[in-house]
């Protein structure tokens, strides 16, 4: 081999080795870090895995938010107006968190059916219902438009109470 060819070969081999490492790391990292989304109706049907990080979403149910008076523990229920999911969280809820508003929670589903949230994300959305939830309802055979309207109605009522 001429030196030039040898150099080319080395470059190609080096690039391939690096690309191989990168692909390996990527696949490994992707496998353990993909968070699937579930709505209460899917969780009630038993579709969601237990003790794995997932995302769940829905509307915060009216009157369900209960703060522990001594600590920062809080429990609330999220609903898609078909099924409900009990959520436990410790910490500060986001500014836009309110009953009747859409939220997405990230955390693990315990064996007893309670959702242990590590993160709560509030959605400020004029549609009131996060699009993922609407889609999950549709897939479960419900008409999302009906529930969307219901969510909007509850949202409107809670908002007018605020003012």
């Amino acid at each position: 081999m001429t030196p030039r060819r040898r150099q080319k070969l080395l470059i190609i081999l080096g690039a391939l080795a690096l690309a191989g490492v990168a692909v390996g790391l990527t696949l490994y990292a992707l496998r353990s870090n993909i968070n699937l989304f579930f709505s209460p109706v899917q969780i009630a049907q038993g579709d969601a895995p237990i003790e794995r990080t997932i995302r769940a979403g829905g509307m915060v149910k009216e009157g369900s938010v209960a703060r522990d008076p001594q600590s920062l523990n809080v429990e609330f229920r999220i609903t898609d107006y078909v099924d409900e999911l009990a959520v436990a969280y410790n910490g500060i809820l986001p500014d836009l968190f309110r009953e009747g508003q859409g939220v997405v929670v990230v955390g693990k589903l315990a064996a007893d059916g309670q959702f242990m949230a590590d993160k709560v994300l509030a959605r400020h959305d004029e549609n009131y219902m996060p699009p993922e939830v609407a889609q999950a309802l549709e897939e479960a055979g419900y008409s999302p438009a009906d529930y969307q309207a219901k969510a909007a109605e509850v949202g409107e009522r809670l908002r007018s109470q605020d003012k």
Binding site: R4, A29, N33, I34, N35, L36, I92, L96, R159, K163
Partner: protein, 661 residues
């Protein structure tokens, strides 16, 4: 009367700018192809005219905001009569339509500057550059006029007052972050235009790289500052003290930065050694395409975040088509023309050429992994395969090791020679620096906290491994001067630019390593009179007060903070604000910044019994993150003003670097 017509005037100015951009695209390109100087001469006046008319349109929109003209839908949706004047002026780009107009204005500005300061270019080259800048401009002007007109009126039912600017955006960050970021994004259009022009003309020599380099460095410097400002803004605005979230929108700005960094280094090889030409051109195409993709992601509404203003699918489709056209056309030109400009220069495996090649490969791998993590959920979603999200652990697991590997080569690069180098010489130059970096990296965390931390040590070793060889290099380079100080002055600005750029990376790495490993966060429940101790500071909630701001009501917590060791005392006043027009609550963080630590207090929620949830954080070295970014950008600017780039063939009055002043 004329005042009432300001929005129509702006709209009209935009409509006039469009045919100018069309002429700027067609005439110079056709002229360059058929060698007609008269046709080519259309380029400059059209670039000037287009810039002036878009600037006029931009001023008209700004005037509508300043004058509270709520008959303009854009103003009514994003402003309010109570909004302070500086937010009214920056609210112009705090929404979809206005930000695209700002984008176009900057594009026309860069196009004008490229045209104005490149008089020494061969005429056909300049014509092609102007034509390509015009082409991009046509795309964006059509986008504004067809899908995102900022001057749409709300007639006849004019609202009494505006809906107000999103409270998250009512901050100094809105004033500085978007313009800087956009200058960076759009600035890469110039090197893109140079690259395509070089392909079309078949001319890609050292002179070409000397023209392209200052523009690339300048755009890169702007983008660096833009990203750093965005991180700084998110840190204090979002109320939980994070400085990088691997949010798709952040990734969208990091992607062109990574390929832009690769491009800067590849251009250096192309200028000095004449190799890597095709690769340089390809990187220029990728960098601008990724800038466009960033715009698509942010502006199309496929992502939900503070950046995604609009949810109009036609807009997303338009940018996607524009992106597809740009990428297809430029890669097509590349495929047809690249072989004509390729050139091979051999180099040994141990040389600066080879190290820069590795740097480029690593940066491209980083880009690809981040691109994959960002687009994967979008692709799955559009194929109907489920809604997933890719979390920060994925990005950290890939980005951190790749960065460390790259930094190992970064220590070698600046001291290595071009073409070939004896391994003994490299070892001789570096053994001391390497040993010192290892020793200090192990000892410093011990001294700092009294306990050893693998990750902090790794970060410090990496940073020192970048800095110490540079110090050694500066030392060696000044050895032969009469005095050391005189020797420092003799080093070129471009060299200092490189030193500062690398130093900036090291500073940022120290910041990341320390703040990620030693930050303390406490979330507590506090009633007036309660105290809590965080990292050697005692925080006491003294009282809760209410106040009224310009357009909000606020609950303010007054906390007295005492440093346990020194006894120094000061007061922090975090707020929970309620914005009247939108009815949105907002957390206003209280910060005590410092070069070596930040204290960070955010109010959580009112817990009914008179106490509040509070998030108190101790953030050591967090300022270094952004300080490093500023150093990198400063390095980029120094490299631009190096006088090497002023020694153009005719050495006349103009120089590219004057754009900055």
């Amino acid at each position: 009367m004329l005042v009432k017509m300001i929005p129509e005037l702006g709209h009209f100015a935009l409509i006039i700018a469009l045919p100018m951009a069309v002429v700027q695209t067609l005439m110079p390109l056709a002229g360059a192809a058929t060698r007609r100087p008269l046709w080519m001469a259309y380029g400059h006046p059209m670039a000037v005219g287009q810039f002036l008319f878009i600037a006029l349109a931009y001023l008209c929109l700004t005037a509508s905001y300043a004058l509270d003209d709520f008959s303009v839908a854009n103003v009514a949706n994003n402003s309010n009569s109570m909004l302070p004047w500086y937010y009214k002026l920056s609210a112009v780009w705090g929404n979809h339509e206005g930000s695209v107009l700002l984008w176009s204005l900057m594009l026309a500005g860069w196009g004008y500057a490229a045209s104005r300061f490149s008089k020494s270019l061969p005429r056909d080259m300049l014509a092609r550059v102007q034509g390509i800048m015009g082409f991009i401009s046509v795309g964006f002007l059509l986008f504004i006029l067809l899908t995102s007109n900022p001057f749409t009126r709300l007639l006849p039912n004019v609202p009494q007052d505006g809906a107000d600017l999103n409270p998250l955006l009512q901050d100094i960050g809105l004033i500085v972050h978007p313009p800087m970021l956009y200058m960076g994004y759009v600035g890469f259009s110039v090197v893109f235009a140079f690259a395509i022009a070089a392909l079309l003309g078949g001319r890609l020599d050292a002179a070409w790289t000397r023209w392209a380099r200052p523009w690339t460095n300048l755009a890169w410097a702007f983008l660096t500052v833009g990203i750093a400002l965005g991180s700084w803004w998110a840190y204090y605005e979002l109320g939980w003290g994070g400085w990088w979230f691997w949010d798709p929108v952040e990734n969208a700005s990091l992607l062109p930065w990574l390929t832009g960094t690769a491009l800067i280094h590849s251009l250096a090889v192309t200028e000095k050694r004449g190799s890597f030409k095709s690769w340089t051109v390809l990187l220029a195409i990728f960098t601008f395409s990724l800038s466009l993709m960033g715009t698509f992601l942010v502006r199309s509404g496929v992502l939900t975040s503070v950046h995604a203003f609009a949810n109009d699918p036609s807009r997303g489709l338009f940018i996607l088509v524009l992106l597809a056209i740009t990428v297809t056309l430029s890669l097509g030109v590349f495929a047809l023309r690249a072989p004509r400009v390729s050139h091979h220069a051999s180099f040994s495996w141990l040389s600066r050429d080879a190290l820069l090649l590795i740097n480029n490969i690593l940066l491209v791998i980083m880009t690809v992994t981040i691109l994959l993590g960002t687009l994967y959920p979008l692709i799955l979603d559009s194929l109907g395969l489920g809604k997933i999200s890719v979390g920060p652990p994925y990005f950290n697991a890939l980005f951190v090791p790749l960065t460390v590997i790259m930094c190992i080569f970064m220590g070698l690069g600046p001291v290595a020679r071009w073409k070939r180098m004896a391994s003994g010489e490299l070892v001789g130059k570096l053994w001391l620096a390497g040993g010192a970096a290892l020793a200090l990296g192990v000892v410093l965390p011990l001294l700092y906290r009294g306990e050893w931390n693998l990750w902090a040590s790794l970060g410090i070793v990496t940073a020192l491994w970048i800095v110490l060889p540079l110090v050694r290099d500066v030392f060696d380079k000044t050895r032969h001067g009469a005095t050391r100080l005189g020797g420092l002055g003799k080093l070129s600005l471009a060299y200092w630019g490189m030193v500062l750029g690398h130093l900036g990376i090291a500073v940022t790495i120290v910041g990341v390593a320390v703040v990620s490993n030693y930050a303390v966060e406490r979330t507590v429940r506090m009633a007036p009179g309660a105290s809590v101790d965080v990292a050697g500071y005692e925080f006491t909630l003294q009282e809760l007060v209410s106040r009224r701001g310009a357009n909000f009501l606020a609950d303010t917590a007054v906390l007295e903070v005492a440093h346990t060791d020194s006894g120094r005392r000061f007061t922090l006043r975090p707020e929970k604000r309620f914005y009247l027009a939108t009815g949105m609550p907002m957390t206003q963080v209280a910060l005590r910044p410092g070069l070596f630590r930040d204290l960070y207090v955010a109010m959580g929620e009112d817990l009914d019994d008179g106490s509040w949830a509070m998030r108190i954080q101790y953030k050591p070295f967090v300022r270094w993150l952004w300080l490093g970014g500023l150093l990198m950008a400063l390095g980029g600017v120094l490299a631009v003003i190096d006088k090497r780039y002023r020694r153009t063939p005719k050495a006349s009055r103009t120089a590219p670097q004057e754009v900055t002043s």
